[in-house]
Amino acid sequence: MRTYFPYTIFPLGDSALTVDFGNSIDQDLSAHVMSIFTYIQSHPVDGFIECVPAYSSLTIFYNPGKLKNEIRNNETISDIAREKLEEVVEMKNIFSPEKPRTVKVPVCYDEAFAPDTKLVLREKKISKQELVSIHSTVEYRVYMLGFLPGFAYMGEIDAKIRMPRKALPQKVHAGSVGIAGNQTGVYPIHSPGGWQIIGRTPIKLYEMIDADNFSTFFQPGDIVQFYSISRDEFENY
């Protein structure tokens, strides 16, 4: 197992910086990104507004007006933010993954909920049973949340059922389970979407607890196991 992750830091405009660990989907990398994210969340850095983890990178948004008071010599505000970020990344660059949580997610693969299953079966020359079995056998990792509140990007899909995104996004029902490339994900709300829809879960993917609290069903780092349920089980879930 690796213990050090080489990285680069690049500016995302003039009020954010991204630490990039390489353009790849990798469980160790993702766990490392999450360990830095968790550390920053519990040890807020003065002048940072928020921190957002992605597959193999982490972005911090900073407040230039606040950080300008720390400028020495010919430094820019961006330099100050970079120094603060480097300090955290270097300190946390000793790999200590947290134990992942496993979540089980019921999915009804009935064609009534799966407008794109026919196309997937035709393109991949497999039966519906095979599709369901392949999609629900693999354990997926949640790499990040993004796109919509509570939308989890999970990987990796078995090569036997990999499909490209749709050319044009279509209306997608809340709870829809989609696949695209080597990723799979579930739409938390009605939305336009470009992934191929092969089923639907009855689970609610977020909760509006009160005006100050919001929680999502999936969290980055989770191990996800889908299991097939019937139409009846879906309706009575």
Binding site: A16, G150, Y153
Partner: protein, 328 residues
């Protein structure tokens, strides 16, 4: 005092400085698309700089105020009228009960802001009044404003000596903010995928004129103009994007992400509009071509601090003026 929408606009919503700290859950920050105008109208109306305002595009709503109030509009020029008479931008105005605010004609800009002195009785969600239409939270029931909506305001500064359906423009106004750049120039910093573009693409990016397309909205402005060609066909893994990020679509078209952007994206980020020029690009209409100019971080930060300084001076002036007003 209540504000009543008597005719709906097409995209009017309550916004403030946005919702921060929740992007890791996929919740985008949102907020006013022209934050500079939003902050200016708030200060002129005697509010806190980041108080919620009504953001309007054209056609905008028609609004009636049922009691005396102090209001300010600013940003885009939609030929506003108050009680049938032209209403100036960026001036506080004392209005009598049952005053009507209308927007007659689209002249300049894209987004007009209305600040009403007092505390808006809207919904705060995750620290912000900005309307999150996808999840229907924040602002006014998490949706665009529609006909019949009645928004209450409390804690108003006293408004004396103004008759019903009449108004009085107060003497104070904001001095317009000029930056060093020509009006059609948008300064950008190179993005991490800048070198995905061919040399010819880089030349076109810096020399050609582009215009904001009609299909643009709060999420993003798609640009009409010459396509930008790329060198590489490497698939990028999704990562974080920001307001001002310029993404290059597979066909060579550019999209500038705006206040309502999603948290992540997978297209090459070829450049980023500098923070000080967000207000400028936000207000560009289709008929106003723009040119990108590459700049450096030093210039970007200098322009941002200059803009902030301008707002600080305005804030100090307004604080003094409103303290005087209350004494009288």
């Amino acid at each position: 005092m209540n504000l009543k929408i008597i005719k709906a606009g097409i995209c009017d919503s309550i916004q403030d400085c946005g919702r921060h700290g929740f992007q890791y859950m996929g919740i985008n920050p949102g907020g006013a698309i022209d934050m500079f105008s939003m902050r200016t109208v708030n200060l002129l109306a005697g509010n806190a700089e980041y108080a919620p305002v009504i953001e309007m595009s054209f056609p905008a709503a028609s609004i009636v105020f049922d009691a005396p109030a102090i209001i300010t509009i600013g940003g885009a020029d939609f030929s506003a009228t108050l009680n049938g008479k032209p209403m100036p931008l960026f001036h506080p105005v004392k209005i009598g009960a049952n005053s009507t605010l209308k927007f007659e004609q689209w002249k300049e800009g894209r987004w007009c802001y209305l600040a009403v002195n007092g505390a808006m009785g809207a919904e705060k969600w995750l620290g912000s009044y900005s309307t999150h239409t996808k999840i229907n939270a924040g602002g006014w029931h998490g949706r665009l404003l529609k006909k019949g909506d009645i928004i209450p305001f409390t804690n108003l500064a006293p408004v004396k000596n103004v008759e019903e359906k009449k108004h009085e423009v107060l003497k104070c106004k904001a001095v317009p903010f000029y930056d060093d750049a020509p009006a059609d120039e948008i300064f950008v910093l190179p993005g991490n995928e800048w070198d995905y573009i061919t040399d010819e693409g880089k030349r076109i990016f810096q020399e050609a004129l582009f215009s904001v397309s009609r299909t643009s909205d709060r999420m993003g402005y798609t640009l009409d103009g010459t396509a930008i060609s790329t060198n590489m066909r490497c698939e990028l893994i999704s990562s974080v994007v920001d307001f001002g990020t310029i993404q290059l679509l597979p066909g060579g078209q550019m999209i500038v992400l705006m206040a309502g952007h999603q948290t992540t994206g997978g297209y090459p980020r070829i450049a980023h509009v500098i923070k000080a020029h967000r207000t400028k690009i936000a207000q560009l209409k289709e008929d106003k071509p723009l040119r990108f100019r590459l700049t450096d971080i030093q210039t970007a930060e200098r322009l941002l601090l200059k803009q902030e300084h301008h707002l600080t001076i305005l804030k100090n002036g307004c604080t003094m003026m409103w303290a005087d007003y209350i004494k009288k």
